[in-house]
Amino acid sequence: MKSGDDFLIVKDLTVTFVRWGQAVNALRGVNLNVPQGQWLILVGPNGSGKSTLLKAIGGRIQPDQGQALLKGKSITALSGDSLANEVFLVHQDPLLGTAHTLTVFENLFVADFQAQSDHESKKLLAIKYHDLLKPLGLSERMKQPVKTLSGGERQLMAVLIARLRPSSVILLDEPLAALDPGKAELSIGLINELNGQGKTLIQVTHDPELAVTAGDRTVALDQGRLVYDEMATARSPVAIRAHWYPYPIESR
């Protein structure tokens, strides 16, 4: 485990939605301590509360009980700008991670915190972005609007944008869901680089192999409760897979 044990703390987090007049307990008292720089893999069946947990940590929803603390401060107390500078959420839906009417260059420029503070010239930035986009095969499409990219390319862009943000916590909600194996590999490479920059990552996945091979730790949620939490060295593929198939075969 890396240093910074009190970096991101989720305390007794409870979130309840009302859907068609019925209360849905999305999260039921989840406790989690994520040290700085850790790459946490979050798994669980559909509706287990993974996306809700990311949204609560990302300040998108107000918990009914408990709180998420970042460096000792409640995340819900952070305002728009300071929250965005601390936590960045990469959505599951590729269409949500970029602005479709802006060009590839503009999408990177508007997200690039360093360019904003250093007042770099657009010429120098174009060279920088060209180098960033080259491994993704998008360097020749910098002047094109993002809406001309495929869903997978837009999802890669969203992960690349995370690299330009100053945020110390990056939340990745199934970033590989829309990607073919080749692009998934590229995306994993980008996520590895984010981890290499010392950023704290929480990545949701439905890929059983990734759940045991990627990241420093794997956590499973089921019906809003934390049911599995092991470091990379102690992860059991059988135990993790069991959380996707929680019911006996005959009852399914």
Binding site: D81, S82, A84, A99, T101, L102, T103, V110, K143, R165
Partner: protein
């Protein structure tokens, strides 16, 4: 030289209404806000301008105050939407209703004559006289130059980081929040800007026609929609960035639409049928575009 008369009218009207078309197009395409306020902010701009001139206010004060009044109307529409989650159309309709009564109050009557008042066109009257009574080259030149300057400023503002943030807020609010961009404030600022442009269109219209009338905004929406739709067929989206495409399409669409209307009226189209013809024209252009994309009736 009678064939020049519709061209003169069409060019003048096209260049004047281009500001209102820009207002609608920028709100609709860049902010994803189908803004009906334009129908209210245009006559409000004209009313404020006329009322100030009639109260012996200066020309510059009248123009600036009129633009501010339009901006407030646009800001109010956005505020009603973001603060009370009011439907975008409903917010626009409410503000149009407010501006109608407000324009009547401000003018103290349903219209104000401005033929004896100072106007920005006074500077180009000698050129108009020099080119004869049929074609007002001075007026057209003045309108064209001011539109080119305004559009250039607008494009450079939208190309700046601040402008990009505005466009991100309009294009993808969720992504904007991820970047710490305030969607409500950008929407309020954006609609204030666009309705300021619509109010300026009202000012130019009042100057050109020599009066301000409370009903002069009637039909502006369908006119602007037609111009925008035509313009988007004229300009290639692939050649320029999207915000420049929107600006160019609005300007050229407005000019072409007004020239076509002027010639159609000259050829015998009854002015009473104009809105019907415009609506059919919009539908035809949309149907043509959809059929080209292979989506008609699918």
């Amino acid at each position: 030289m009678n064939w020049l008369v519709p061209l003169d009218i069409g060019l003048s009207m096209g260049l004047i209404f281009a500001w209102a078309v820009l207002a609608l197009a920028l709100a609709f395409r860049l902010l994803s806000f189908p803004d009906l306020t334009v129908e209210g902010s245009l006559p409000l701009g004209a009313a404020v301008y006329a009322a100030i001139l009639k109260s012996d206010g200066s020309l510059s004060t009248a123009v600036v105050t009129a633009i501010i009044a339009g901006a407030i109307a646009g800001g109010l529409t956005a505020f009603l939407h973001v603060r009370f989650s009011l439907n975008k159309f409903l917010a626009g309709i409410i503000v149009v209703a407010i501006t109608y009564s407000l324009s009547l109050r401000i003018m103290g009557a349903s219209n104000i004559g401005l033929l004896q008042s100072a106007s920005l066109f006074d500077f180009v009257t000698p050129l108009d006289r020099a080119t004869g009574e049929i074609f007002h080259a001075g007026t057209i030149l003045f309108l064209a130059v001011s539109l080119v300057i305004g559009a250039t400023l607008l494009v450079s503002a939208l190309s700046s980081r601040r402008g990009m943030r505005l466009r991100v807020a309009g294009s993808n609010p969720e992504y904007a929040r991820s970047l710490g961009i305030s969607v409500p404030w950008n929407l309020i600022f954006g609609l204030a800007l666009t309705n300021g442009l619509a109010a300026f269109s009202g000012v130019l219209l009042a100057m050109h026609q020599g009066f301000a009338d409370v009903g002069m905004g009637l039909g502006v929406l369908i006119l602007a929609l037609a111009a925008m739709t035509i313009g988007e067929r004229l300009i290639s989206e692939k050649k320029v960035p999207f915000h420049i495409f929107v600006v160019l399409a609005a300007i050229f669409g407005s000019i072409l639409y007004q020239v076509l209307v002027a010639y159609a009226v000259r050829m015998g189209l009854a002015p009473t049928d104009l809105k019907l013809v415009t609506a059919v024209l919009v539908l035809l252009v949309v149907a043509f575009r959809v059929s080209q994309d292979g989506e008609l009736f699918s």
